[in-house]
Amino acid sequence: MTESKWTDQYDNDSNTDRALADLAQRLHDADFSASRPIRHELRQKLLRRLDERKTAANQGIRPTRTLSTRRKLAYAVVMLGLLALIVWSVPPLRSFAQDVIRTVGKISITDAPTWAERQIEMMAQGTPLPTFPPVTPDPNWPPRLLSLQEASQEVGFQALAPGYMPSGYTLFEQDVFTGDNGAEVSISYNYEATDTKLGQAEPDGSDFLIIQEMRWRDDAEESDWNVGSADVIDVTVRDQPGVWVEGMVLTIRTNKFVISVPGNMLLWEENGLTFVIQTHSLPLDEVLKVAESLSAHPEEIAAQYRATAEAAAAQISAQIGYPVYQPEQLPDGYGIESCQAATDHGLTLVRTRYRKRNSSDTVDVVQIPLDHPSVEHLWALRDAGQARHAIINGEPAFWVSMLIDPGWLELPPDLDLTRQSALIWQMDGYLFMIQSESLPLDTILRMGGSMVP
């Protein structure tokens, strides 16, 4: 290459810099797009869409992102009875009782069977089942992750967000929906917990937690939500009367599969809004904690929880009889979220979780007494040559990048060791593991070097 646009930047007449300039030119010249058919296909598709939009505009039709459209496609659509009313045109199997047992806003909770319960009933009767809704790729995937301010502006009321979320749950959707015929407008938060699964049948079906905040139009008709044989319990939420539905059979549709699983639901009304929290496995006390933490300023609530977590670390230290180590140097924006102790093989392990502000990124510090049997397995990882070696405060450490199965390591499953990378070393009679999905090794090393009791 004699002359190129990169010459000025990378070529200083040395062979090294000339090689870099050549490489820069090579990177720039590589055109991966030319041979891809998508170039033409996508162009046609977009232009068609623009034409349709133009036509709709000329006809005075405003395209909207409706709840019904999004829900068919978006993650974790809970088909609470809605489909049951529509799909079942087959002869009735038996007379289902359908009493309204509670009302929350425009939602009537009935004891009619849920969609899944009716399906089970039909199978028992030998009745041919209707075609199950196909799972199609979601063209709107990934869903939007609006800020609280954006969501509030779009939805037209001050949305609340949780300042507390149980460990392991990460937010991946914060979006606004308009109901069919504009009956309601709602903001929906979708959380996913990858370390808790829906069931053996769906290996990538993570646990979920959905928070909905709805404002109904005054003339909107009431909507039946069937909970079947689930327990319905009156509770107090945020000083309001609420309803806890436990053990109902939820049918969940994700962008990959449809599954029926047991689930729980908390509903209440507050300031003219209807709040619904749905979850697969969280019990009432945890869901109540989430509900009570809903705030227009969730950061303030989260700060209170952090202070509580720091106090918990001190308390755990006092309980277990040995000091809990914590890093003096945390990455920018990170703060303590929780500190938990678990007893296993007669030994106490401690996990402290730190979370980045306004983010789902976390880093865990796990402290394990050297007598614990899992320590042997961890050394085996190092000795198998799968590790990168490092030094922390003069002690040898190693960095592994793989999935770590708590079962294999004989650790309690709730320790959430299914992360990809971990820095492991021994110090003061303990084995330490620092795990993060996103932080680079140098940042983890700085954390490790600053650990103090």
Binding site: Q9, Y10, A19, L20, L23, A24, R26, L27, H28, A30, D31, F32, S33, A34, S35, R36, I38, R39, L42, R43, K45, L46, L47, R49, L50, D51, R53, K54, A57, P139, W141, P142, L145, T170, F172, E192, T194, P203, D204, S206, K256, S360, A384, Q386, S401, M402, L403, I404, D405, G407, W408, Q420, E437, P440
Partner: protein, 189 residues
């Protein structure tokens, strides 16, 4: 389309028209498709994923075009902002969906796919993509913006929040690292 010469002269006018004028949108698409596609291709491991993400980027751009404001950012910066957002979401989604079995741990499956899974148009592309895949996330993003997206260091600095000089330093280091990887690759061949 005779108004189009090399690049897009008077791009703001094309953008303003593109909201309702298919010809104007087509002009923008034709101009930006290779840059966006090549940017995406440097960021992800396989061509079908790059196809899918590129489609998402342009679909989102079309959907949001009416809300785009020229006084806030040039159109290219806005479009690459969408691209970075879509790719970020993609990686987050991958993390959520990734699940490996107990067996995978015992046999140690590396995080990156084997090179033979990386499809490329030719051997040179394959080498480049393999080498780029060894970079850290931020280096890979900057290399992709610089050489795939054909952005200046100043434009990259605005997009990423880094200083312009920092962008230059990171790119320089990344290039040196790439060159070392490519040389090692050649030695093995």
């Amino acid at each position: 389309m005779s108004e189009i010469v090399h690049g897009l002269t008077n791009e703001p006018a094309w953008v303003a028209r593109a909201v309702a004028d298919p010809a104007a949108f087509a002009a923008l698409y034709d101009h930006y498709f290779p840059r966006i596609y090549n940017y995406v291709r440097y960021r992800v491991v396989d061509a079908p994923t790059a196809d899918d993400l590129t489609a998402q980027i342009f679909e989102r751009a079309l959907a949001d075009l009416a809300s785009y404001r020229q006084d806030r950012a040039p159109f290219g910066a806005w479009l690459f902002g969408i691209a970075r957002h879509v790719i970020g979401d993609h990686f987050r989604t991958q993390r959520r969906r990734r699940w490996q079995s107990f067996e995978a741990l015992r046999h140690h499956t590396p995080a990156d796919p084997p090179p033979e899974q990386i499809a490329a148009a030719n051997e040179s592309h394959r080498q480049l993509l393999n080498a780029v895949a060894t970079l850290r996330d931020r280096e890979r993003d900057l290399i992709a913006l610089k050489f795939g997206g054909d952005l200046t260091n100043r434009e990259i600095a605005r997009l990423t929040g880094l200083s312009e000089s920092n962008v230059g330093v990171i790119l320089h280091r990344a290039l040196r690292r790439l060159r070392a990887v490519l040389e090692e690759d050649q030695d093995h061949d």
